[in-house]
Amino acid sequence: MKNKKADTLEDAIARLNDGATMLIGGFGIAGVPEILIEGVCDRGLRDLTIVANNSGTHKTGIARLLAEGCVGKIICSFPWAVESFVFKELYEDGKVDLEVVPQGTLAERMRAAGAGLGGFLTPTAVGTDLGAGKAVHEIDGKEYILEMPLKGDFALIKAREVDARGNLTFRMAARNFNPVMATAADYTIVEATTEVPVGDLDPECIITPGVFVDCYYIAGPYVPGKEEGPRS
């Protein structure tokens, strides 16, 4: 069996490179691969394109990646939260690019990449600033715009359980973007809470089959080193 387990955080993220497009899971504080992101910060990479729901909040996670100058562009749905002050300052200084994508379109663009589709027609954003310049198709009297797949070089995702094949479960609303991102990257790296023996996961309840997982790292349940207290 292919060995997908990384014994150290360094091994887990060793393949990442300058200029890569990285899909990063999570919504709010749930399902963010915080340990992996910390590791990426420590690598001092440059010119990353980050795809995530938001532009980083407070000073950790994606915000720390931004603060340390690792990020050239962010593709997200919610850049302007009050807590996204690190991003705001860099953006206003012209130091980071931004592409705002409606949240459902963001998820669907990654799903399309994972499913081998060349694009899809969505009613979302028709006639809006975010639909501007996109081809409009009228079908049965309803307008749709053509959106393109969004593929990552890497996905960094957070899971609850993992087995040696890379099969994953998630926890409650920490599922969010993680399973979709796992399908949409060339190389998917998982931060999992716990490892279970192969065969322990119910085959009816595996949310991400291991075929989408290239590497996993067991971070355990405790998330250390947060300035704003646990998990925030």
Binding site: F78, V101, A107, T128, R175, N176, S232
Partner: protein, 223 residues
């Protein structure tokens, strides 16, 4: 709000809640719409969808120690899961929204136009905005209820003929719930359905930036 006789945010929420029918699947936008969950009439089974992958979102846990960081609403507030609720991933969650399974979405608004166009994601002078799921949900829900103050802080009407704010989704709003009135958006234009207690029809007309059809009987918002 310094004006008298205006409904509080909770009173608007209570009125919106009345509008949600038994058996509906409903998405509540972040901000004021979230309050709606506290006013669902007893005996009505309303299922709440949260775009971050929760079907059957329940209220905030009764005790703070039961707050779970993995169980938050789209507005990032702590919530619960009702019995029979389910977790789904983001692409599936927006398939629910875009696919027309939401019986209603209650969304905050900067402006509504007479054709039902909604503006709620970006200020006209801002370089950009935080769209979140607003465009997907507004485009996909069977009914969009706009929930807002009747006028902006400076007193400018938010119920207008045509949008001057950036569009969120075309022709989606079917009814508007404000601190002054309930206004239906119909093929024949705006129709005043109800006024808040103590608010006159003339006051609503004056605060509205478009023609308002006044039926023979205008109800009073139960508040």
């Amino acid at each position: 709000m310094s004006e008298p006789n205006r409904l509080s945010r909770d009173q608007i929420a209570a009125r919106v809640a009345l509008e949600l029918q038994d058996g509906w699947l409903v998405n509540l936008g972040i901000g004021m719409p979230t309050l709606t969950v506290n006013y669902i009439p007893e005996g009505r089974d309303i299922l709440f969808h949260s775009e971050n992958g929760i079907i059957g979102m329940g209220p905030r846990p009764a005790r703070d120690e039961d707050i779970d960081p993995d169980l938050m609403s789209a507005g990032k507030g702590p919530v619960t899961l009702i019995p029979g609720g389910a977790f789904i991933h983001h692409a599936d969650s927006f398939a629910v929204a875009r696919g027309g399974r939401l019986d209603a979405a209650v969304l905050g608004a900067f402006q509504v136009a007479v054709n039902g166009d909604l503006a709620n994601w970006r200020l006209p002078n801002a370089i950009s905005g935080s769209v979140g799921g607003a465009m997907d949900i507004a485009a996909g829900a069977k009914r969009v209820f706009a929930m807002m103050t009747h006028t902006a802080k400076g007193g400018e009407p938010k119920i207008v003929e045509a949008l001057t704010y950036p569009l969120t989704a075309k022709t989606c709003v079917s009814k508007i719930f404000t601190d002054m009135a309930v206004v239906a958006v119909t093929p024949d234009g705006y129709v005043l359905e109800e006024v808040a207690p103590g608010v006159t029809v003339d006051e609503v007309v004056a605060a509205t930036g478009a023609a308002l059809t006044i039926p023979d009987t205008v109800g009073t918002i139960a508040a």
